[in-house]
Symmetry: C2
């Protein structure tokens, strides 16, 4: 029986320990990224990039810039989810599939490109906010998609962004937002930690 | 039959038009926030806040700071998802449920609080990044949870953050990250827009 989204959200844990004998296939990795890119983004900017860390050498490189966290080495795969600055410049490319499918008219695409250029050009704070927003929305989609495929994940913001950018040759326009380790769980992981009651973080207006 | 997470991700659209005759119940709203708070956050900071905009007066106030976007008025409810700065100061409160449940030892909680204070104190860029990251992870969880409940949503970053903070009396430590309108769809919404191929946004290392 397939799990419901509620069950997946309620049962998800952030893994620290992975089964070293159960790899994640290329097909699974590509499907995770495909589903992640179905997350929403402003103007459908799709201002994200996924670096798939699998080789032993790249894992060591990543571990060094992630404060030595062991799970980067033991997880079969880690995604470096990046957000993109200056994403408005590639917006025509991002919208082309929707134009080609006849879902939005070329004039709509042109209007969105113009609007995005007006708001993003020379506005580094907005660009960075959009990069973090879009990359995190895609990251959460990937995390829940992994749950749906029977995999587990561990998301990490514990890394040195500048060192990571250097180690993986990121451009100035590529901001590392999150690491997501993915694989099958081993024994010893924490259960899901209970949260503050919902009513304590809500306000009605 | 319940939908699978894959189906929900593949069928989600960003709504512009809502059925004005189908409200969203208080129980649904609270459940959406409860599920959103099960998203991961660094140290389990839970550095988010959800403002639930339902009254006609508050909708008008929000519409004004959201560039007049009509869906804020026509959707039954809009969540202003905020990220919190200085979240390390409330980390003991955020971790208490996990300590009380015996999942993490008090010494672990103390160590995380100390580590979060070291990394966050006097580091406004990291605090803002964490606020955007956590709030966006929670937002995406809320969006997919809504799909699972048969609702639809529209996420928006098109608002004036400073004006919104003023209009809703946010503190300096509360950053509005995203608006999510939620309700049942009316006719006339766009289908999901196709994305760039996954392989175009991936890099293997």
């Amino acid at each position: 029986m397939e799990s419901t989204i509620r069950t997946l959200i309620e049962s998800r844990v952030s893994l620290n320990y992975y089964d070293p004998d159960r790899p994640v296939s290329e097909a699974q990795i590509k499907e995770l990224v495909r589903l992640a890119t179905l997350a929403p983004s402003a103007y459908n900017l799709q201002n994200w990039k996924f670096i798939v860390v699998q080789s032993a050498e790249a894992k060591q490189r990543l571990k060094t810039v992630a404060y030595g966290q062991q799970k980067v080495e033991t997880a079969p795969v880690t995604f470096i989810v990046c957000g993109l600055l200056e994403a408005h410049r590639q917006l025509p490319l991002a919208l082309r599939p929707a134009v080609d499918a006849g879902i939005i008219a070329p004039s709509v695409s042109d209007a969105w490109v113009a609007a995005a250029a007006r708001s993003h050009d020379g506005n580094p704070v907005l660009q960075r906010d959009e990069a973090f927003r879009s990359a995190s929305l895609a990251a959460m989609t990937l995390i829940l998609a992994a749950e749906g495929m029977g995999l587990g994940s561990g998301s990490m913001s514990g890394f040195d962004p500048l060192a990571l950018s250097g180690a993986f040759g990121l451009s100035e326009a590529e901001v590392p937002v999150m690491l997501i380790t993915v694989g099958y769980p081993a024994a010893g992981n924490w259960p899901q930690k209970p949260r503050r009651p919902a009513q304590d973080v809500m306000q009605y207006v």
